[in-house]
Symmetry: C2
Subunit: 144 residues, 2 copies
Amino acid sequence: MFSKACEYGIKAIIYIATQSLSGTRVKIGDVANNSGSPEAFTAKILGTLTKHNIVNSHTGPYGGFEISSKQMKQVKMRDIVEAIDGDTIFNGCGLGLNECNHEQPCPMHHKFVKVREEIKTMLTTTTIYDLATEYKSGKTVLMR
Amino acid sequence: MFSKACEYGIKAIIYIATQSLSGTRVKIGDVANNSGSPEAFTAKILGTLTKHNIVNSHTGPYGGFEISSKQMKQVKMRDIVEAIDGDTIFNGCGLGLNECNHEQPCPMHHKFVKVREEIKTMLTTTTIYDLATEYKSGKTVLMR
DNA sequence: TATATTTAAGATATTTTTGTCCAAAATAAA
DNA sequence: TTTATTTTGGACAAAAATATCTTAAATATA
């Protein structure tokens, strides 16, 4: 469904946000250890998300990553997925046709529409804050 | 969503089935040309599907691929997807955790369940025959 | 039986994704 | 200003997915 990069990005963001809720800025090593994602690769992904203003980074001592409460509440999961994986999952044809729409649909088009809408809904109605608070309260896990 | 291999496999099967409806056995080159899939790669994928008894192959002159009406009506899209991509899309965790369930869910688990059920429903309620007849009647396209 | 045709299978090549490593840039604090 | 710390960015490496090529096996027909 999502690329590995996207999975790592989402998990990293949830961990960073959770720490930010307590006012703690976290280093990449800490993020990797607590989100179960490879450090260097995750650093790259966070670089992308930083450029998209989804997370904030600070170099130097006492630096690291953080997410403001405003960001957390505004940024949807969809923004993260789109920043990393692009919009293929939302708009691409299920069978890979370059163009596919109601007028000239691929054989699975009509069935696919429903699934894609479900995915869009799921990702646009969920904010970083939603998942971070649940994670912080221990209802969900990031590693296993 | 699906791998390229799976996309090619589905398109190839729909084309073969459509031709089988007219009693025509088709060669791999014909399949590739009419389904917009790379020939050699598609041949490999059809080899897999042949082993899974989703399609029948015949070597030698007048050989090629065909699908019986019985097969067409019995085989679900889910069978094709599972034969090629495995069951990760149906049972795997959306964030890549090795285990993830209602008791110890990843942060996206509950939201994901709905999407996965939608995908399962879509693929288990659709047979090859369904898509082949629609394609044959010109309602859908395989290339663009 | 000989020949032509077609899929099957194995080796190999290419591209993309995933992942690591290291030096440079930024920065906080002594 | 110097030093230690941290992200950033680029080069590089490994693995997986995608794709091709070539030969072998099967088979229909003359």
